[in-house]
Symmetry: C2
Subunit: 202 residues, 2 copies
């Protein structure tokens, strides 16, 4: 098994934190996006979308999409469960993981891609769209803060993949100045809790 | 159990097709978005994001996000499996369901929201972003066509939730003129296969 990785990538980081929480080590191959290594014919044969991470199984089967890779490891290494313990919890983790992805991580990524100098010339930026996404992330921080009242973690009583997605989304936002305001006490306390985990820097 | 539904919505349709494939009936409450019924205090108490569908369990527990609702029904009614039969298949369904959502359904929705008259005044449209998404969908149709060579369904040998997501994404695209070109023979044949299922109009 081999994990094609990108150290600086928000999605690859989701998988790295997930594996660290499981205590699982997988051989990694760093793909240098800055050098265009994700656009070579060899890499596109693995993932025609040119994205990371990619998991290659020993028989050559390819899995892309961080959450799909995480789910596969959840089945191989069920403990500790990071997708919920019961049918209802698993649905709640799916709900919260999607909310964290669609409401925070994706708009943070859009803000980065459409407003940051790094992407200038690498894609056709639409700054007005980036700014709309920036506002959305800040609104969602306030919403998430209210949802976290009285809760230690996002989806269930335990740390789950939904927390990982939120962590990676917030880290990504920091690159474009999207910071959780201190006035959002629940979200700030949650962030301190998850950032203090030994896996947070994976 | 009660399903808050929106007949014309692409996400609610995912759940309706899923339930029809399972042969499960759930009492539905239609929420009229045109009349703003998804923005009333009562509805926002169910889902602060104002989105549909929403599943309310008998004890009042709320599940939002179509895929989370589908996963819950998959556990309650495992047959026929629509999320895969083995650990690897379940990861492949997750991968393909996400690809269909992120590469086709979401950009089709963005094209609709940012270029269609229906949304004028309802949200701050960024037409340049909508057009970029339109191009992306057409590119992804070509990619999906090549992926479908020799395959009957999108993720595994069986019809799965990934096919449902692709169906609903393509239906949504039709509203803004995004049509699968006949020259894409594999995708066209797949579409004919899934559109002929008795559940396609659910």
């Amino acid at each position: 098994m081999k994990l094609y990785d990108l150290s600086a990538g928000a999605n690859p980081r989701r998988v790295r934190i997930f594996l660290a929480e499981k205590g699982v080590e997988v051989p990694k191959v760093e793909v240098d996006m800055m050098k265009g290594e994700n656009q070579t014919p060899e890499f596109l044969a693995l993932n025609p979308l040119g994205r990371l991470p990619v998991l290659e199984l020993d028989d050559g089967t390819i899995l892309t999409e961080s959450v799909a890779i995480c789910r596969y490891f959840e089945e191989l290494h069920p403990e500790p469960p990071l997708f919920g313990r019961t049918a209802l919890e698993r649905a709640q983790v799916e709900m919260w993981n999607r909310r964290m992805e669609l409401e925070i991580m994706v708009p943070a990524a859009m803000t980065f891609q459409h407003t940051h100098d790094f992407w200038k010339g690498r894609l056709e930026q639409v700054p007005a769209w980036g700014e709309q996404c920036r506002d959305k992330v800040m609104e969602r921080f306030a919403w998430l803060d209210s949802e976290l009242a009285g809760r230690e973690f996002i989806a269930t009583a335990d740390y789950t993949v939904a927390d990982i997605t939120a962590q990676c989304g917030i880290l990504l936002g920091k690159a474009v100045g999207l910071r959780v305001p201190e006035s959002l006490a629940n979200l700030t306390a949650w962030w301190e809790r998850v950032a203090a985990r030994p896996t947070a820097r994976a």
